[in-house]
Each structure stands twice: as C-alpha cells, then as structure tokens.
Symmetry: C3
Subunit: 259 residues, 3 copies
C-alpha cells in the first residue's frame, strides 16, 4: 500500500477550492487525515477562498473511520481522535464559506457523516452505498450526528436509518433527502463547483446572513455540553460488544483482501 | 356478539412476541382492552421477550376507542380511561424493546394512535382507512397525539390531517410517512416479525443506545405536565358539541347494524 | 396605470369571505395595501365571517413588496412598513378563523410570504414562479419568514430555497410542500372556498381547538423578541449591497416596461 505525501489534494477553481481526499485505497479517516482535513477546512477562508468543494476518489468518497488503525490506539489517543472528529464536524457546520460535497462513490458511516454537515450534497450515480452504518459495526450513533441526520431527513426516517444502520443507493438517498441531487459520476465535482459558483454570484451579504440563519440550528448542536457527549461517545468505543464487532469487521476486511 | 375470554391473543415467534387484538367485531378499545394491552406491553420485556409485534384482525386493526361503551361512563370512570390510554401510549413510546405494528386493516382514530408510538408501521394493502379522524367525531386531538403525528409526518401534513380528521388509504399513508411500508395483507404480520428479527440481529448495545436516542423526543412528550393535559383532554370529552357528535355517531352505527 | 379605489375587493361566499388583491398591475405590496390587508384580515371574524380566502389576479397573485415605492421612503417610514408587514404575518398566523390562499399566479418573495402563514395553500397550474427570492434581490430573509418556511418544508429544503432565493413552478412547490395542492387556474378560488367550507362543516369546537394546537408553533414565532428582530431586519434594508441590488432591480423593471 502506498501513502502519498499529501492525503488531501488541493485544486483551485477560481474562488472555489476543492479538497480531494487522497488516502488510498479507501480514503479511510485516519487520525492524521481527520487533523489535516480540519486544518484545510479552517484555512480556506483565511486564505481568501470563498467556497469549498469536498470530494473523494472516483468510486470511493470515504469508507469512514479507519477502524484497523484506530483499534490499535489506547484510550487517551482514541479520545483525542474523537475530539478532532467533533472539531471537524463543527468546522464543516460552522464554516463561514459554503461547502458542497461531491460524494464521488461509496460513503458509509464516517463518509456520510462529513456530508451531513456541509451545505450541499451531490452524489455520483452508481452502485454506491451511502448511510450511517455505525450500528451495523457495533458503534452507537453519536448524538450530534443523529441530530444532523434528523435535521436533513426528519425524525421518522432518521430513526429508521440510524437504528438499523441501513446503507442505501444514491437514488434512495436523494428520495430520503440524505443527498440533494444525484448526477452522472463524471459530473459530480463540476456540479459541486457550479453550486458554489451560483452561491457566489448572489448578493453576498444577503446570502451570508440567510445562510447563517438557516444553519444556526446545526451550529447550535455544538454549543451543547460536548465534553459530556465526548466522554459518553468515548466510552462507547471501549464497550465489549463494540470492540468485538469492530475486530470482527477488521478480520473480515483482511480476509477479503487476501482472497 | 361473542366476547372471547382473551381480548389479546399471544403468539411467540422466537424472541418476538405477537400481541393480536382480538375483541370482535372491530377491536374497539374498551377500558378493559386498554388496560390489558398496557399490561401486555409492559410484561413482554420482563418475560424475556426481545421485541413485540402488535397486530389486529384481517381487515380490521382497531376501530379506535369504544365510544358506545365509553359514553356510558361517568366522569371519574372516563378520567380513568384517559389516564390508562395515556399510560398505554407512554408504554409504547418508552418500550425498552422494539415494537412493530402490523396494521392489518382499518385503523381510524385510536387505531392509528397506537401505531404512532411504535417503532415501525407496516400496513396491509387494501381499501382500508388510516388516520386521526378525532375531529370528525367531535373530539379535539389530544396534544401528545398531535406531537407524535407531527414527529412522523412534519408540521404541515400534521396540521392538515389533524384539523380535517382526514382518513387516507394505506398507500397515501405511506406517501405521507404515516406508515413506513405497505405490503400484501397476507404478509403484514410476517413482515413485522421480520423487521423485529432484523433489529435483533444487530449488535444489541449499539442498536439499543441509538434507538433510545432516536426516540428520546417522543418519550419526552410524556415528561411534560401530563396531569394538566389529562385534565384538559378529560374536559373536552364532556363538551356539549363533542357529546352530541359522539352520540350521533353511535346512533348511525346502530342504524347501520340494523340495516 | 390605473389605481382603483379599492385595493382589496371583497366577495362573500356564504360564511366564507374572499379578499382579492386588486392593485394593478402586479398586486405589489405598497404600504397602504399592507395596512388595508391587515385591517381586512382582522375585521373578518369581528364581522362574523367564519373563514377567509385570500386571492389575487389571474396570473398574478402578488409580486411581493412594492420595491419602487419603498425605496423612496426614509428610515422611519420604512421601519413602519416592516412593523405593519410583521403585524400582517402575525394576523395571518394567529387568525381565529381559517384562511385558505388561492395563489392565482406568480407569487415571488412577499407573495409567497403571505401564503406561508395561511392554513391552506392552493396554487394555479401554469408557468408561474413561487418562492422566497429575497436573497436574489439583496435582502436577507427575515428570521420569522425563514422559520415559517422551515415549518412547511423542513430544514434541508428551507436552507436550500432560502439561501439561493430559488423560484420554482407550482408543481415543484407542491412536491416540496411549499403549497398543498395545484389545480387548474380557473378552479383555484373555488377550491380554496371549498377547503374552507369543508372545515366549517366539521364539529367547530373540535376543529378550532385542534387547529389552534397545530398552529401554536407558528404563532409562537411572534412571541419572540420581535422588536429586536424588526431592528435587525430594518437595518438590513439600508445595507449598501441591499440598496444597490434593489435599485438595480427597479432599473431593470423600468427598462423592461419601456421595451
């Protein structure tokens, strides 16, 4: 396996910066990728970029948290990962500039989580899996993620998807409201750039004030007692059932790779 | 008319217990059926059952409150019925084990109310009526029921359905989000059992924690000042308009039966 | 251009009063029309009417705020307009009698705003534009309007529509939940009357109590610190970007009229 120096590739499209996840083979969210993405999202507006596109590899947006790597961490290290991951979700939710996500392929669990907090979700057409499958691998869905999901698709569908850990196709995701549109795979990044450009063509003070207002409920989720929530979510990770299910999943992945 | 000894039939499907309403001819919710159902819902987890299916008769899930019987009660007796009915809704909402409801046929008013508080609603295909028709028979919709309805289908549709007392077909109910799926009548119980089994096949700590989280808003409805609400709802029953409308309905039912 | 004496025509359909906007050419909401509409909405129940239909001209419900007129006002006068417009929205939301709106044609910005606060929205089929285009003309969407929009169509669609200022067709508006139904143009007023009559045929105490309950969240929006919000919204109007965008729009309208 080859790790390029840059886990995130940066492309400039006029005032719109594209951050492309580039951690083969599946853009798994390892601690250093989470930290790098947090840094990149925070730096973009400071460097004068006016909108962001978050994209992945063709066929694979992100497989979510890098469980094989995370299972090797001790409690303080894993707590730090959760803290960074929450900071990343908060940075996406609170971004002073709009963020469109180009879901270029599969986006199970953490892959979909990133999308929940962005302004606009565009998915590539294809046989891809989208959804919050955390429960399937033994991890209860963190409360802030559940709230963001419910905000997008309503309490009824959120309960159903979260509790079952169901993964759905891009088309079903669009019907649920989990993504905003589905386009042919080769157009997904261009469409995300276009959505950003459309926002930048609007009167900016009006757009920004309205955007801040429309997203205030999402931002408020991070004003709750996040330390308490981090302690709770942190403890879930070490639950016996969770550890067993995560280890089982890693073994299955390893066997798949061999065969 | 024949009343069997058991108003609720119990069937065990592995870890899933089916509670089948069995009070001919229409599974009307008489005081003793409400009390029996409350008891059955509370006992199932204590007896080691891991999920519940709530079903009815083919073609008739439940016609709702047994108005002819209730109209004969005095104020203290009727207050006790409301208290039990609220306890039943609370038991369904707060159940430590998942409950799928197999809406086997018609489910006007109280029939639909039971379904609102369950985890999963599966309706039988057919020319059946589903909805909260309380207003049509002169009864304002109790606040906790309205909140549960709004949680499922959103504020706009909830306002429309509640205010007009509209009854809809299973297919329209699914389009509104009032039920989760519609299946051929002969499969509705099996599908409900299957949904429960699917939940039980998931990592249980993760499923349960996520489920509790996803339903916390529904459970919180019963943490409000329910005594105050019970006093209000109780008084509505004795409103002149309500009494007149309910008596009119009972007379029409009696005439229908004769003809 | 001819201004009739009566900017609002009144028609009585039994217990249902129709208020037809009648300010050619586009039913623009000038200060005196806002004040007249507020007065008419408040007077109807006092004069014994039991429901209202709010309609417009065939092809044009209302083009929204009369920007050319409003741009000539000084700050105190414009503050008074906002105060009246908020009072109008509050009167629609809090009306003791149901209000169905017959969206007889285009309803950009303020046209759609009126509809948000009514009980029932029926749109005429046709090539008409509906939506909250405020941001497109440089005006941030006032918070109380955003809340009413989110209540109807959910947080995700509300964010998308509000931030982009998107105008949509009647059919798309129905799919979003922004209107409740779309009917052939010649039937839109009759359907609105029919919806009112249906509500009046229901047991009235039950209907009214349930209606008040279902709309309590909308009414509560006006119990917030509206003075603070009015100060904020008032200041937005005088923002340089907003003024420039509004003047540009007025110039474009003037050029269109000449050509």
């Amino acid at each position: 396996m080859f790790y390029p120096v840059k886990m995130i590739l940066t492309f400039e499209h006029g005032a719109v910066r594209e951050l492309r996840l580039n951690r083969p083979p599946v853009n798994a969210l390892a601690p250093e990728l989470i930290a790098a993405l947090l840094h990149s999202v925070e730096m973009a507006p400071r460097e004068g970029r006016r909108a962001l596109v978050l994209s992945g590899t063709a066929g694979m947006f992100s497989a979510g948290l890098d469980v094989p790597v995370l299972l090797k961490l001790d409690r303080p290290a894993m707590d730090a990962v959760w803290r960074d991951f929450y900071a990343l979700m908060n940075a996406l939710a609170s971004s002073p500039i709009p963020i469109a996500v180009a879901i270029t392929g599969h986006a199970p669990a953490g892959g979909t989580v990133l999308a929940l907090f962005c302004d606009w979700r565009i998915a590539a057409q294809g046989d891809f899996k989208i959804g919050l499958s955390e429960v399937q691998v033994g991890l209860p869905l963190p409360p802030v993620i559940f709230s963001a999901l419910r905000r997008l698709i309503g309490a009824r569908s959120a309960e159903r998807l979260a509790v079952t850990g169901l993964l759905v196709s891009p088309t079903d995701a669009a019907n649920l409201g989990l993504v905003d549109e589905v386009v042919p795979a080769e157009q997904v990044v261009d469409r995300a750039i276009k959505r950003c450009q459309d926002l930048l063509a609007l009167p900016q003070a009006a757009m920004n004030l309205t955007r801040r207002q429309a997203r205030a409920d999402l931002v408020r989720e991070f004003a709750r007692d996040i330390d308490h929530e981090l302690a709770e979510v942190g403890s879930w990770w070490w639950n016996q059932e969770t550890q067993a299910a995560l280890h089982r999943m890693v073994e299955q992945l390893a066997m798949k790779k061999k065969s």
